[in-house]
């Protein structure tokens, strides 16, 4: 039974508005107004309702905690879910968009602030469902961070895909899948094995650049989400490679290739952070860090013993990084950011053309000789569906030089050779 379990639900009612209208996003009042003018109808509430129906089908009677009106209440009611409303803070913060045109009962359009405040009011829930896109995920991430800073309990979150841009790892594959996964998680939470959580990256695109055809995902942080055994369909996968252990295997492989005295630049991301962890270092999730492997400890007679690592500099700027790699043998360790396969130029702009040239030199094929290590799970590569990895360093000549095939480390003593393209050519071509 679902007694004692509560699920938070926050809907960003304007999410997805811009998509159907061809506006490639819904961030900002101007775009929302334009979308409505083009006849767009809000769909997020309906998608949230589908997720809630799926949740109730698996766990009848699950109680929701939600925000008033289109921010969740309407969806909960439409799905027939018992629900409590969080106290309305100041009501929706209208940014001056045409209130009535959002459709029946939609009320005033909401802003990022409304999403954040709704999440803050739901700190006590067992799982927070939110409907929206990457922009909404960022707002949820902001609120989660604020809860953490306040020392409050931070619920795991799960996104119901309802936005135009859904590249973050915290979204289920469909509204129904979100409901089913939520139900499975809540059942697991009361079971012997305990709830399984995984870290998922929150990325977002710069919409202005996206509208110009320049896709630009940036990594904003990570949230805890229910681990998705269902998406892996069956136990065989659990024991064989798609499990969280893969990231540790990748980290072990990277560390085994590190030679003492060689600087290693760790780009942003959860996978590169695992490399830091393998070295015993607290490297940053969002920043670019520079590390070295310590001299191997040969005291026990065999050189395999890991002597740990040294953090040369954390969260460096482009300027600092450029100085740190100048004239030094350096290896770049970068992970694939977001669902589109960006390796360079997204969230790691510190690794500038100047830095790249300093590390890789000017010769084509530099990517192949071990000075650029790209990290990704096989699952992440599979999700690209045969599309290439992308480089958008800001210097198109350099991107073209990098284009070709790169070794991607997918596990311990395991790698793949994968195509990398200059983003400008791939996206405009």
């Amino acid at each position: 039974m679902s007694a004692g379990v509560s699920v938070g639900l926050v809907v960003n009612p304007v999410a997805g508005l811009g998509g159907a209208a061809g506006l490639k996003g819904s961030d900002g009042a101007e775009v929302q107004r334009a979308a409505l003018a083009r006849g767009a109808t809000p769909r997020a509430g309906e998608r949230a309702e589908r997720a809630v129906r799926a949740l109730l089908a698996r766990r009848p009677g699950t109680r929701l905690v939600t925000a008033p009106g289109p921010m969740g209440e309407h969806s909960a009611r439409a799905a027939g879910a018992p629900h409590d409303l969080v106290r309305s803070t100041a009501g929706p913060h209208s940014a001056g968009t045409p209130a009535d045109s959002l459709g029946s009962g939609a009320g005033a359009p909401t802003t990022a602030r409304d999403t954040r405040e709704a999440v803050l009011a739901m700190a006590g829930v067992d799982l927070l469902l939110f409907a929206g896109g990457d922009g909404t995920a960022r707002d949820v991430l902001d609120a989660v961070r604020e809860l953490r800073e306040r020392g409050e309990r931070v619920p795991p979150v799960l996104g119901i895909p309802a936005g135009v841009k859904v590249y973050s790892g915290c979204f289920a594959v469909s509204p129904a899948a979100a409901g089913f996964l939520a139900a499975a998680y809540l059942s697991g939470a009361s079971g012997v094995s305990g709830p399984a959580l995984a870290e998922a990256e929150v990325v977002d695109l710069d919409e202005d650049r996206y509208r110009q055809g320049l896709v630009s995902p940036v990594l904003y942080g990570a949230v805890l989400v229910p681990a998705a055994p269902a998406a892996l369909s069956g136990r065989k996968a659990g024991s064989s490679g798609t499990a969280p252990g893969t990231v540790e295997g990748i980290a072990r492989e990277v560390v085994s290739r590190m030679r003492p005295g060689v600087r290693h630049v760790l780009g942003p991301g959860a996978t590169t952070r695992a490399v830091g962890r393998e070295l015993g270092l607290a490297t940053t999730l969002l920043g670019v860090d520079v590390v070295e492997r310590a001299e191997r400890d040969g005291r026990d007679g065999h050189g395999e013993r890991d002597g740990g690592g040294r953090l040369v500099a954390a969260d460096v700027s482009e300027e600092e990084l450029s100085a740190l790699v100048a004239g030094r043998e350096t290896v770049l360790v970068l992970s694939v950011i977001g669902g589109q396969g960006f390796v360079l130029g997204r969230g790691n702009q510190q690794v500038s053309p100047r830095v790249l040239r300093a590390v890789l030199g000017d010769t084509p094929g530099a990517r192949a000789d071990g000075r650029l290590l790209v990290l990704a799970t096989q699952q992440k590569l599979a999700a690209l569906g045969g599309r290439p990895l992308l480089a958008d360093s800001g210097d198109e000549d350099l991107d073209r030089m990098l284009a070709g095939h790169v070794q991607v480390i997918t596990g311990h003593h395991e790698s793949t050779i994968y195509r990398i393209s200059a983003a400008s050519e791939e996206l405009n071509g």
Binding site: V173, S233, G234, A237, S240, Q378, H405, H413, E414, S415
Partner: protein, 513 residues
């Protein structure tokens, strides 16, 4: 209005479109739990021969803990277990894609029984007949693959793959090229290739499919180099897609000084049509229990075969059978990697496979491949017509196809594994061991030459019914099976070394003591 159905007058009602299947459920204990001290199946007579004193070092301190049962209890026990099974002789066994489940003619078991009483240590002179079977079988597999020599020693497909990688390692070592420490494979090759290479100490580089579902040849170009030991590749891959540029793959690896090794686990659709050696491969292997109709005996004695070019023949596992024109002898190749199992091989399975090939002849083998491919493409048309099912990359397949229930799962929350389990309520099944999960919600069907059109229609109708049920009543599908011997099990002990127990002794140690 006539209320009577037309069949009401028949003494036996016609069968409904879907079988009203119900599996037996005996709740049968383990045979060890049925044991009672002193109970016997056979009263063994006292030996007439004088007693022999065995040295202390080889004498048991206590008798082995074998189950003690009377004959009827043994017979009943195993018949009950056999009724709780969906074996190849009971169901339309097309759901174990990549396993090539085909009918094994019963007459071949009688031939196999004929060699049961041979002893593996008998002198060559007394077993010329079975050595001749080994020799002729080797020559036939050499003809089928185009290779020079073939070892029939491996007891399984993976053992054959391991023997191949061991030969690759020995070959490079003999040439002083021990720096070749990378093996290239593809994501849809049989996963044993990556596994065996890794066990043998190689670094594994895996090629991903391009947009057409074929391994990216440009990636291979970038992957090969002075460290390349070998390419280990399956073709057609586990998607059922045949790589038409395979010769170019082989040539690229050869140019880099590596060897090319062909995993022929999926050979059922290419028998008599293409040959490994003709595409330039240096090594290949067959699973006799897949392509050549011997029992699978999963985990037990199946049978594998390694085929090699003349350059690699000196490295074959030994002994091999040689023929000097008048007699058959055993010989260990000059630079043999050693034994991969005791003695010659799984002789009874070699005999079965030999009988199977002899009964078909060259034309028959080709007909096997053509029928398997025809069956597969017929079934594929029926499966992709089911709403919610798809076959990624869409192209025509050889002998099997990997499908996806992604669309159905996203709509209904019912997963591929659950659909396979529900299908078992209708007397068929499929498994979902498709590591890695590149195709979402996968299922792989391989209708070999053994199945009729009616069989394939029935199988497709069952999947269509379950997919429809997933939309109407997903909880029904998720609650399945209902008509099976065993219902829901907790699979987690299978992943937990502290809990798993492949033997009764381990079970007693971990759970009962």
């Amino acid at each position: 209005m006539n209320t009577a159905e037309p069949f009401a007058e028949l003494p036996v009602a016609p069968k409904p479109p879907l079988r009203r299947f119900h599996q037996a459920r005996w709740d049968e204990p383990m045979i060890f739990e049925l044991s009672r001290p002193g109970r016997r199946g056979v009263a063994v007579p006292e030996p007439g021969a004088p007693r022999v004193e065995l040295p202390e070092s080889v004498r048991r301190a206590e008798p082995p803990k074998l189950p003690e049962l009377a004959q009827p209890h043994v017979v009943r026990h195993y018949l009950r277990l056999s009724q709780e099974n969906l074996g190849n002789d009971l169901n339309i066994d097309v759901g174990q894609g990549t396993c090539t489940m085909k009918y094994s003619p019963k007459v071949n078991d009688r031939f196999a029984a004929a060699v049961a009483e041979l002893h593996p240590l008998q002198h060559e002179d007394t077993v010329q007949g079975v050595l001749e079977i080994y020799w002729r079988m080797e020559r036939m597999l050499a003809e089928i693959s185009g290779m020079s020599r073939v070892s029939l020693q491996p007891a399984s497909g993976s053992a054959a793959i391991y023997a191949n990688i061991a030969m690759i390692r020995a070959y490079h070592a003999a040439r002083g090229e021990t720096h070749r420490d990378q093996v290239i494979t593809t994501i849809f090759s049989h996963p044993s290739n990556a596994a065996c290479a890794k066990v043998a100490g190689f670094e594994v580089i895996t090629l991903m499919p391009d947009a057409d579902g074929l391994p990216d040849i440009e990636a291979l170009r970038a992957a090969v180099g002075p460290r390349t030991a070998a390419l280990m590749i399956t073709n057609p891959e586990d998607t059922g897609i045949f790589n038409p540029r395979i010769r170019e793959f082989v040539d690229l690896v050869h140019e880099a000084g590596g060897l090319a090794c062909y995993d022929q686990a999926n050979a059922n659709g290419i028998l008599g049509i293409t040959r490994a050696r003709d595409a330039g491969f240096d090594l290949c292997h067959f699973n006799l229990h897949k392509t050549f109709s011997t029992p699978h005996s999963c985990g037990g004695p199946a049978a594998g075969a390694c085929g090699v070019s003349a350059d690699l023949a000196p490295f074959l596992p030994g002994p091999v059978v040689v023929f000097d024109g008048s007699a058959y002898r055993l010989e260990t190749p000059e630079r043999s990697i050693g034994k991969v199992r005791p003695f010659l091989g799984v002789t009874q399975n070699i005999v079965r496979a030999y009988a199977w090939i002899m009964s078909l002849g060259a034309e028959g083998l080709r007909q096997v491949a053509e029928t398997a491919a025809l069956n597969n493409n017929y079934l594929m048309r029926k499966i992709i017509a089911i709403p919610g099912a798809s076959a990624p990359w869409g192209t025509r397949r050889i002998e099997q196809a990997r499908y996806s229930w992604q669309e159905l799962a996203e709509e209904t929350g019912v997963h591929s594994e659950e659909i396979g389990v529900r299908a078992a309520d209708f007397g068929v099944h499929y498994w979902t061991s498709h590591h890695p999960y590149l195709v979402p919600e996968p299922f792989t069907l391989e209708p070999t030459e053994s199945y009729s059109m009616e069989d394939l229609d029935e199988y497709a109708a069952i999947l269509a019914h379950v997919a429809d049920e997933a939309r109407r009543d997903p909880e029904m599908v998720k609650g399945a099976p209902y008509n099976q011997s065993v219902h829901k099990i907790d699979p987690s002990p299978l992943d937990d070394p502290k809990a798993w127990a492949p033997t009764w002794r381990a079970y007693v140690r971990k759970h009962l003591s």
